[in-house]
Symmetry: C2
Subunit: 357 residues, 2 copies
């Protein structure tokens, strides 16, 4: 960097113009400012756009080798980009000695890259042989703080999860496709017969495998052995990794719903020890990054509309199994762009910045 | 009845103007016509309306004692009404010797009233000490044929179900509330921040406990011990009853999604015997009332938009557990107004009509 560096490490945000990037810029403006210079980077398509961060107008520059000029040890580069972009450019950054925090799937399975959710395994951030730290998928991120807290008390033995995933998990293209489809179905004289939604939406389903407006789509990712989706297997592998439970039985069904932002999950967890729902509620209430809202008759339960735009995971509908004294059911919602991505990446970056302080 | 009766038992449809009633009239027009006179009944609000059934314009009459004039042994009265209405009027009908088929919750827990899904326990229709037969809740109805078929082969040992319920399960008021909310959120400059959906929708959430447009609502029914909802306990009790497995462990989480018609469920089923997903697919393919669509990469998986307006339960995403050779996961969709109500009631009525043929 040619300009004199203000105090604190420099931060580059690659993918600053995306769904996660936009939320990240908001978050940087809201949290304690530990950063020196902040550089915004995106594809050449976005070069020259001006975005506000920390109240300053900042020009977006194109992702090239030069974009990282001046970055070195102690500085941090966030990748909020498609996995191919992260995979291609992270080594360019680490070669300069700066640390990469990647929010894509590029490095999540790499044993030399820690996969970190600060509330659960923040310590793991310090051991990063490749100079890269990864954040999890937004489904994993939504539930992991609740699971971590319950596991510490009761010992997790088995997990069954069903997701209700928001469209913005597929980035700007996802929320735009849902909004487009909603206006198409709203404009049509929609009955309740087969094919009505498909006819109204047409072939252009955006990043989804079927129309999402007024519908539910039980598929995301690629096909893997046994009929599982790559997304489901990723949630399973990441949950095991972050909790440090490499052989935990986990069943996941990933389903997309017509919500713009905010992932919801139903979780059935079986533990090694007996559980008491009242005590479990106390644990969840005290867990970092988790807020309990659990008085359904008073209208207190989590919904994605309420979780969107907030930092924590909202948990409710906590019930002890009627058949098994070691099982709990609950429902959890979190903002997929915040805890599921931008917030988690910011928290990781702050931990790393703290090391050099 | 004063007019000469045509051949076949007379049929009265109480609640002919409702969400289920309207679909029932379509179904009567589509299936083999085994009925003599068909009488349409609703509240006094609807008296005088003219509806088409079997191609004939038929006037709706108000529910009074006189509405059942001429009905007796061998005739059938369908109640597609709120539970209080069914509870109040079913005895009036049975006192005349006609059989009641009730689609509400009024009699589902009565041991003297068989709870019937013809594909699974059609035989039960014949033993009806009170002259009343009940159909199940629409969540139970969506999955019970798949469970029945798999249970016959493998022996069910444990069930965890999460629902993705459509708005029309709450009747006309439900689908109208969702449509109203969708036009409100479509007209607002909706961001992705907390409260946006709540602000756009306002206080009038219709029959739902929170706004349903662009949201997911994990609550329906009343609060029961342990934080369970009455709806969840009903699905559990009905599933056990229909399968004849009075102590089957079942966990259910009922969640409403912004879909007009078509319930979806994720099901995790553990069996007494080892399961093979390929063989399970064959069983489901052969099961009555079930259609298998399971080639996700080719876009073949069930969605509620595709199930709406059709008779069967559509099942897909059939996967063997990765951890337990006795467990299966799958995803099932069915039209809550058809298999979940009107179709099932029609099938029951046809079985009873057959007894007198
Ligand atoms: N959305 C979520 O809920 C979520 C949650 C967890 C993880 N993630 C992951 O986070 C990453 C970003 O997701 P998103 O939802 O923000 O996606 P998005 O809305 O599509 O944004 C993608 C960003 O990457 C940039 N980009 C794309 N191709 C590029 C290239 N060749 N060179 C430089 N920049 C490029 C885009 O810049 P332009 O604007 O210039 O095209 C944009 O800033 C993805 O890996 C995603 O899987 C997302
Ligand atoms: N919707 C589903 O997916 C579903 C599935 C399974 C079971 N069920 C059950 O089926 C029943 C009907 O549901 P729905 O969804 O069709 O409800 P709906 O759309 O609200 O229709 C209710 C029907 O009942 C009639 N009704 C209401 N109060 C009455 C009264 N005092 N006297 C006579 N008729 C009266 C209404 O007549 P007016 O039009 O004159 O008011 C209307 O025809 C309910 O018990 C429901 O729980 C529904």
């Amino acid at each position: 960097m040619t300009a004199p560096r203000s105090s604190g490490p420099a931060l580059a945000v690659v993918g600053a113009t995306g769904a996660v990037g936009s939320v990240l810029l908001q978050i940087l403006s809201q949290r304690a400012d530990v950063w020196g210079d902040i550089r915004l980077i995106a594809s050449p398509r976005s070069a020259g756009r001006v975005l506000a961060v920390r109240g300053e107008e900042t020009e977006v520059i194109a992702l090239t080798e030069d974009a990282f000029d001046g970055f070195g040890k102690g500085d941090i580069v966030l990748f909020l980009t498609p996995a191919e972009v992260s995979a291609r450019w992270a080594p360019v950054v680490t070669a300069r000695g700066a640390v990469v925090v990647d929010q894509s799937a590029a490095f999540r399975e790499d044993p030399e890259v820690p996969l970190v959710v600060p509330e659960v395994n923040g310590h793991a951030v310090r051991i990063r042989p490749r100079g890269i730290v990864a954040g999890p998928d937004c489904v994993t991120a939504a539930m992991i703080a609740t699971l971590g807290a319950l596991h510490a008390e009761y010992g997790l033995a088995d997990l069954a999860v069903s997701s209700y995933q928001a469209a913005s998990a597929a980035g700007r293209a996802g929320s735009e496709a849902l909004r487009r489809q909603l206006s198409l179905v709203a404009g049509s004289t929609l009955g309740e017969q087969t094919g009505d939604v498909r006819r109204a939406v047409g072939e252009d389903t955006g990043p989804f495998a079927a129309p999402l407006a007024l519908n539910v789509v039980p598929w995301s990712g690629e096909l893997r052995e046994g009929g599982w989706s790559s997304h489901e297997l990723a949630v399973r592998a990441e949950t095991r990794r972050i909790l440090g439970l490499e052989s935990l039985p986990i069943a996941v069904t990933c389903v997309q719903v017509p919500v713009v932002t905010g992932h919801s999950l139903t979780v059935r967890a079986r533990f090694e020890r007996e559980v008491d729902a009242g005590h479990a509620r106390e644990i969840l209430e005290a867990a970092p990054g988790v807020v309990l809202v659990d008085d359904p008759e008073a209208g207190e339960f989590p919904t994605p509309a309420d979780a969107a735009g907030t930092d924590p995971a909202w948990v409710g509908r906590v019930r002890g199994s009627l058949d098994d004294s070691r099982s709990l059911e609950f429902f959890v919602c979190a903002d997929n762009l915040r805890k599921g991505a931008a917030l988690n990446a910011t928290q990781i970056s702050e931990l790393i910045a703290g090391e050099f302080a």
